[in-house]
Symmetry: C2
Subunit: 155 residues, 2 copies
């Protein structure tokens, strides 16, 4: 089997293991809801809402409660293995925080709600520079671009 350095499936698998390890290291047990939410997140390419994760788990036949989904997500965020995103509309979205420190930002269609990730090194460097100039200690940042996706523009 060929091993590719930036293979996506391998990356998310690695993330699931990493997340489970962090949970254990923090002195927590591996309950059903925790395993289920980690697996669900590992299988997605971009951010999901708590409700979407819940719906997917139920569709897969798992008997989880939505409260547990929220509790697990909170735990994973506090352990630093999941990033919580606020793309507007009053709902939080969650995605795996990849170990390498690499991260992306999001384009959001204001019409259909589609979310597309993007990366931009120039943007990151501008943000770092601003952060350094400020008297705040900056730990994190979010960038959201809002507009219309090709499909909605056509319609």
């Amino acid at each position: 089997m060929i091993r590719r350095t930036h293979d996506h499936a391998a990356g998310t698998e690695a993330w699931a293991e990493h997340a489970a390890a962090q949970v254990a290291a923090a002195g927590h047990r591996a309950g059903g809801a925790r395993t289920a939410v980690i697996e669900s997140l590992a299988g997605q390419t971009c951010c999901r809402s708590a409700q979407e994760i819940f719906d997917q788990l139920r569709a897969d036949g798992r008997r989880v409660g939505i409260a547990s989904v929220y509790r697990v997500l909170d735990l994973l965020v506090s352990l630093g293995v999941v990033q919580r995103l606020d793309l507007g509309g009053g709902i939080s979205r969650y995605e795996p925080a990849l170990p390498g420190g690499e991260h992306h930002h999001h384009l959001v269609c204001v019409e259909c709600g589609e979310v597309r990730p993007f990366e931009d090194p120039r943007l990151e460097s501008a943000i770092e520079q601003t952060a350094a100039r400020s008297d705040f200690t900056v730990d994190a940042h979010d960038v959201v671009l809002r507009g219309h996706c090709p499909d909605c523009r056509a319609a």
Copy 2:
């Protein structure tokens, strides 16, 4: 009296007039709640939540309902004279959108919630470049930097 080009009070006064004019131009009347919310926003230097605006108006003795505050803010956002911000925590914040197209972003203290505005032309240009490269039509963008303010870091 000396007239300064970038005088703040003059700028916000001008904004209030501009906002009222846009409301009228769109065929809306100048009811009590609309005038009150516009005045309240004009008197603030940075973003406020709907609840904060409501509380301030009540403290000033105006008998407005919070539903009207939300309705007026929605109207002003749709007219493009107010910008809606989502700095996290599930609550929306609002601030005047100054006519010149100039705008700023925000540093948020995750501990005390303090919000500080900042500007960065390099950041803007990086975002424009990314927007142009994407197949979305980008109308707006938000940048939020999260960290600790000097006071909270000291404590």
